[in-house]
Structures are given as structure tokens and as C-alpha cells.
Symmetry: C2
Amino acid sequence: MRFDQPPPEPLANALGFLLSWNGQRVAAHFAAALEPLGLRPQHFGVLRLLEAAPGATQNDLVGRSMIDPSTMVKVIDELEELGLAERRMDPADRRRRAVHLTAGGREAFARAMKVAAQTAEDALAPLDAGERDTLRRLLRKLAGLPEPQG
Amino acid sequence: MRFDQPPPEPLANALGFLLSWNGQRVAAHFAAALEPLGLRPQHFGVLRLLEAAPGATQNDLVGRSMIDPSTMVKVIDELEELGLAERRMDPADRRRRAVHLTAGGREAFARAMKVAAQTAEDALAPLDAGERDTLRRLLRKLAGLPEPQG
DNA sequence: TATTGTTATACTCTATAACTATA
DNA sequence: TATAGTTATAGAGTATAACAATA
């Protein structure tokens, strides 16, 4: 799929298409922005989870993400290779691996957060603050999520 | 990626995530609804183009879609195997293949359109008509597309 | 027997580049 | 030389199912 040209007009008025196209475009933009850091969106997602819940087991991470178990193994392998995370044995249950960020992992996450914020800012540039709020409210409603701090 | 569970809350407030997640969810829902017809979204897209422009060359179709040339060959191969489209020689330029819908192709397209409409209706059920218009306007603006019939 | 993590594998999707036949 | 279409191939990304270790 290419995002360097606008979609043909009749398609572009179909709400389903607009949703899907914008979503993929934003996701691709974010992935491209993350690439210079050597990270893919999945890495970012797992770093974010580990920042919030240090020592989470791999099963925890699977449950809190949308990544399946075998893919999670690979993602954590890669984070370890990059020196951003490490698996530690759980002495109470030797099947479990508690996953922790390293100092480098925390730094990488901070950098990636800035990239994410900048990416969002770029992607949303055409909309003003009020429009962004409206869009967020509509997309949450569409997804069946409750109103925020209602 | 799984869409059978809601996304974890902190993610779900990020506009970029909401866009991407809803977009992929809607696209996956549409693909699943099309599957009983033996079609994938790309097939639907090409059927739609052929309905609008019978006899389009494969290059035309590439230009009017977001499908690259080699993938287009495969998609049209499959439409021919399903008996929904056929390539015809262009006597004026024997490199060109004019692609036409068969009678079965027109019927399949009509059925697929109903599925698409029903899918859109399902996906958009949480939003009323005014909210849908607002969402369409915001997504078009986000994509840098002009206001419709402005 | 069930669970955690892992590995091996297969599958889907798509892009790249080389090739043909025409022009 | 350039273009339309095709083929072969390789790559990314992900899912499936079997497996080892531990509970």
C-alpha cells in the first residue's frame, strides 16, 4: 500500500476506507520515525509496558498487548540484543521470566516517546485542538470504549 | 493483531493508536465479511474499478488503486479463475490487456457492495448520522483531502 | 495434567527486479 | 529505447503447533 498519493475520490468518501487508510498511514509514519532508533512499533509497545510494569512476565506482556506469545519471545530477544531489556529468573517459579528495562532501555524509551509525540503532532497538524478532541471522542465511541474521565 | 479484546487504557487515549486500531479493525471486519464470497478486499477494489471503467488496462487499474503492478497481475488472475473478469486483447496495441467484468462479475460485485454497506453499518453502529458526518469531515481533513462538494 | 516459555515451521502478503513481447 | 504485462523470487511479518522444563 502506498501513502504518497491521495486515494481516488469515490473511495475517499467511504468512512470505512478513510478510517483504514488514515490508520495505516499514521502507523506507517510512526514506524518510519522509529526506524532510526533501531526500533519497530512492537518494541516501543513492549518498552512502554515494561516502563509501567517492571518485572512483568512474558505472559503478562502478552495479556497487556496485542502480540501473541511466540512473537513476544522474538521481540524480547531483540530488546535483549539491543541491550534495552533483560530477562531475570523468578526463583519462586523457574518457568517464569521477569522482564526488566536496563538503564539503556529507559533512555531508549524516553527518546522513542519524544518521537511518538512528534509523530502524532505531525500527523495531526491539519486539525486544531478542538477538532482533535472531537476526533478522539468519536474514535473512542466507535471502538466501544467509555468516555474518558466522565 | 487481535481485535477481540479492547486495547489497554493508556494506549486507547493516544489519537494515533485510536486511528490505527479502528482502521485495522474495520478493515479486518470487512475482509472477514467478504470471505464467504471468496473475495479479498483487493478483489472488491478491482471489481469496483472495473464496474466504473469497463475495459480499463492493467496500468489504468494500478494508477487508480493502491495496488502495485505485480500484485495487480495476481489479483486479475484470481478474478479470471473465479470467472468474474476477463482480459481482452487490444488490437491497436497488443501489449495492452483490456479488463472487463463478466456477467458473474457484475453479480458478485453487487453482492459484495451489499456486504460492504452492511459492514460499514455494523462498524459505525455506535455513531449517529451527525457523528458520522463529523467523523468523515475530520478524517478527510486529516488526510489532506478537500471538503466534499464544497 | 497444566502452564511458561521456546523453537521450528509454514503461511500470507507484498515488493523487487528481471524478463517477454510489443511499440 | 520505452512501455505493458508477467514471472520468479525474496523479504517481512505473523501465526501454528510441537516441544522442554517446571509446576
